[in-house]
Symmetry: C2
Subunit: 161 residues, 2 copies
């Protein structure tokens, strides 16, 4: 997909890098992100993994949660995300679930790997089948999980997403 | 990696499926998860995406966050996760970041896809290079993101994770 990068995209991405830098001083990891809707910033966050004791507290995840909170919706269609570094697989998954439209980033997964972060390794692991991974993934096929999906199908009040 | 599935693993996984079922009645999506440490349950959660307006509120993510909160650590090494369905790429990323040791699950990504969820699609997207994906991923290479990693390297108070 081709895109014409505008001056505002550069400015917003530079701001995401600045947020990452400020985050380090506050005890966060070296990552920053922000989300815009119609060109207006609706959330900003930096990595808080260690001081929040939360391995999911990446800049992008926190920015997505804040943006959703501010819009009171789990759907960020039409929003753009600017991240100081290429989002890791967890954040990429969250981006897909949120429906964010466009992602701009500065550093790449290899830069994060060189700084000691597992992003690239995790991308490689995700592409493997469950039984080939470093962590044990074990399906217990005779436990019936599909009954929940059948119940979901029959549940009249469900809101699909 | 081979594993001998114990009776307790079946019981815990069945409980994760029960949690998923109960979650539907509470307005959640059809997914449940729990985390154990030394065979003891330390957190349980079901999907809360819609009613929490939070696309990251998957059962596994919430269970990880609760477990970390209870242990006051971002590191869940030695813990096991039981999930009613194969974790999606976002949750898989969170599992890697948390250091969880073993994952047991019942349904597979194809079952979730058949129930209308994007898990399989997102797995396929993650394996693609950024420029081949459905969502626009644009690196702006001349914005210097690597300066943050250099600052991180020099930062004496950093806690690596």
């Amino acid at each position: 997909m081709k895109v014409r990068i505008k001056k505002i995209d550069r400015e917003l991405l530079k701001r995401a890098v600045d947020i990452a830098e400020q985050g380090i001083q506050k005890g966060g990891g070296p990552f920053g992100a922000l989300i815009t809707l119609n060109g207006k910033i609706i959330s900003e966050a930096h990595n808080e993994v260690v001081y929040s004791s939360d391995p999911t507290a990446h800049a992008e995840i926190l920015a997505i949660r804040k943006a959703c909170d501010s819009l009171r919706s789990h759907d960020l269609s039409g929003c753009d995300l600017y991240a100081s570094c290429e989002p890791c697989p967890m954040c990429l998954g969250a981006i897909y679930w949120s429906g964010i439209s466009r992602v701009f980033y500065a550093s790449e997964r290899e830069d994060a790997a060189n700084a000691g972060f597992g992003d690239k390794l995790f991308y490689d692991e995700l592409s493997k089948s469950p039984e080939e991974r470093n962590i044990l993934f074990c399906r217990i096929g005779d436990i019936d999980g599909s009954r929940v999906f059948k119940l979901w199908e029959r549940y009249e009040k469900k809101i699909r997403y």
